[in-house]
């Protein structure tokens, strides 16, 4: 009798344990399945970029990327760099004003400034194309393309900086002021270094979006200026699938991934909260 009562709970708990373990295994398997689906497009492009008309042509394909697509890659880097610079220059003072000054309609202003994130790319494209054509006459200049990128992505720069500014206690600036620093000195020597992680988060987010942007570029790119993602789009649409195009796509994704990993290693993910990514 006593043996039975002792044995039964043990068996039941072991059965429950094994069931829980099965659930655990299934859960982790599900996560991994999803992760595989996420990287599947990248992985097949990577494999495809190693192939050629009969054999392994990996080196030739990537040489082709650096040769034939060099101009496109350089344009992508140039447009991204210009966008990052302008975006940072307009976001830093705006974030400071939004966090440190009190004024009526602050929330409304911030929401209005983040609205561009929610405008579909095709709508940004057509509206800028038409205004460039009829009002600004920017159709043939790279400035038009850069401004299109800036306006579509600067909320991504603004939001992490605002988060970092809000985390920064006022006392540092007050101490600097007490010690005789001007506002500009306090900003340059105290605030700017301390919001570095927020600014870096903004730079990273803006970079991975602008560097891979093809849709707005398709609408407003000046004749002759073809960025790498736009080249991929055009080639996939018209030339069918080529291993060299896959190699270019792989290169773009690897560069973007390197930017993300670098950021994760240096700053972690703390400053990406608040933004709509990650």
């Amino acid at each position: 009798m006593s043996a039975i009562t002792a044995a039964r709970p043990a068996r039941r708990s072991s059965r429950r344990l094994s069931r829980r373990r099965i659930v655990d295994v299934l859960s982790h398997a599900y996560i991994w399945l999803c992760l595989i689906v996420f990287v599947l497009p990248f992985m097949v492009l990577l494999l495809y970029s190693f192939t050629g008309p009969g054999g392994t042509y990996a080196i030739q394909n990537f040489q082709y990327v650096l040769g034939s697509f060099r101009e496109n890659l350089l344009w992508s880097f140039g447009i991204s760099a210009a966008t990052l610079l302008i975006s940072a220059l307009i976001s830093l003072p705006a974030a400071y004003a939004i966090v440190r000054y009190g004024f009526r309609g602050k929330r409304t202003l911030f929401s209005a400034l983040t609205l561009p994130l929610y405008v579909p790319g095709a709508v940004i494209g057509i509206s800028l194309l038409l205004t460039y054509n009829f009002t600004y006459h920017l159709t043939t200049s790279p400035i038009g393309l850069v401004m299109a990128m800036v306006v579509g992505t600067f909320p991504l720069m603004l939001t992490p900086i605002v988060v970092a500014m809000k985390d920064l206690p006022l006392v540092y600036e007050e101490a600097a002021a007490c010690l005789g620093a001007t506002k500009w000195q306090a900003y340059r020597k105290i605030v700017f270094p301390l919001i570095g992680p927020g600014l870096s988060a903004g730079l990273m987010l803006t970079f991975i979006i602008v560097f891979n942007e093809y849709l707005v570029t398709l609408f407003v790119h000046p004749p002759g200026l073809v960025t790498a993602p736009l080249r991929i789009f055009n080639l996939v649409r018209t030339a069918g699938l080529l291993p060299t195009t896959a190699a270019l796509a792989v290169t773009m994704q690897l560069i973007s991934f390197a930017a993300v990993i670098l950021f994760f290693r240096v700053f972690g993910t703390r400053y990406l909260k608040g933004t709509y990514l990650i």
Binding site: L40, I90, A94, Y118, G121, A122, E213, Y214, F257, Y276
Partner: protein, 300 residues
């Protein structure tokens, strides 16, 4: 800053002139700091959107004509007449992508928040879809092409040739991969605010897992889930590369692609801008709902 707050607390009329002057100067500084951002937003976002709103009431490319634009509402009649199927296809694709994301995203977010310790690794994998729908569409197109890696699988399923490539499920699948991280992020944030002891308490009181889900988890994460669904919907509404590269003629009628065809290829600015306005209105309404539901605003 502290002195400014003190100054505001006192009645304005009794302020000494030098404090008033400082107040005025600080206001000017603030305006100067906000000016570049506001100017860029007005010149390159607000004005162009108002411009296409105006243009959507002109006929074809008559805005260019030397006799001045011809004002008409025919574009909107066409939009909600001849082009209504295009709108429906767009909404259908966005809705399906949203539902797929919800069904697969909720368990993913739950497991991620409650069981997974290698979260950094998961984050690293999850940035790949964010690099753009273009690469996803390109990759899937290559997988599904006749002779591609998935050919044996497709043959086993009884699909031949390009039957799988140019189809609705493929487009929805690609769109869902692209927007999956947004859904997981929203639901995950909501879930991590739910105390795990609530689930344990429910289990102790004899609730089955489905009951716990329906009575505890879903109500407590409703805000995040709804915000995520709306966000995914708003993002999917402007889908461009996926229907074009993976869809049949039916899916290629998605509004953003039609807009490009009409506006850039055929120069029918009136109709293209009308489609743009319709897309914009849908995206704004949905995003507004999403922001209202999501956890607190950033600035207060």
């Amino acid at each position: 800053m502290a002195t400014d707050q003190l100054a505001i607390a006192r009645p304005i009329t009794t302020l000494p002139p030098e404090i008033r002057q400082r107040e005025r100067r600080s206001r000017l500084t603030m305006a100067a700091m906000l000016a570049p951002a506001v100017l860029v937003a007005v010149a390159f976002m607000a004005y162009p959107l108002l411009f296409i709103l105006q243009m959507s009431f002109t006929e074809g490319s008559s805005y260019l004509s030397i006799h001045g634009p011809t004002w008409t509402i025919d574009n909107y009649l066409a939009m909600f007449g001849r082009y209504l199927p295009n709108l429906f296809v767009t909404l259908e694709l966005a809705t399906l992508a949203m539902l797929v994301d919800l069904v697969f995203g909720f368990p993913f977010a739950y497991i991620l928040v409650r069981k997974v310790r290698y979260r950094t690794l998961v984050r690293g994998f999850m940035v790949f879809p964010m690099f753009g729908a273009l690469y996803i569409a390109f990759g899937l197109r290559f997988i599904l092409l006749p002779g591609g890696p998935a050919t044996p699988l497709l043959q086993a399923l009884g699909l031949s040739g390009t039957q799988a490539l140019y189809s609705l499920p493929t487009v929805v699948f690609a769109m869902a991969i692209f927007t999956f991280p947004f859904m997981v992020m929203n639901i995950g944030t909501a879930l991590s605010n739910v105390d795990p002891t609530l689930e344990e308490a429910a289990a102790c009181l004899g609730a089955r897992p489905t009951q716990t889900l329906r009575r505890i988890l879903l109500p407590l994460t409703r805000a995040g889930t709804v915000a995520g669904m709306l966000m995914v919907f708003g993002w999917s509404i402007g889908t461009f590369a996926e229907p074009l590269l993976l869809g049949s003629i039916q899916e290629q009628r998605a509004l953003a692609w039609t807009l490009y065809q009409r506006g850039v290829v055929q120069n029918d600015y009136g109709l293209a801008t009308t489609m743009g306005i319709v897309l914009l209105v849908i995206a704004f309404v949905v995003s507004w709902g999403s922001l209202r539901y999501s956890r607190g605003a950033l600035v207060d």
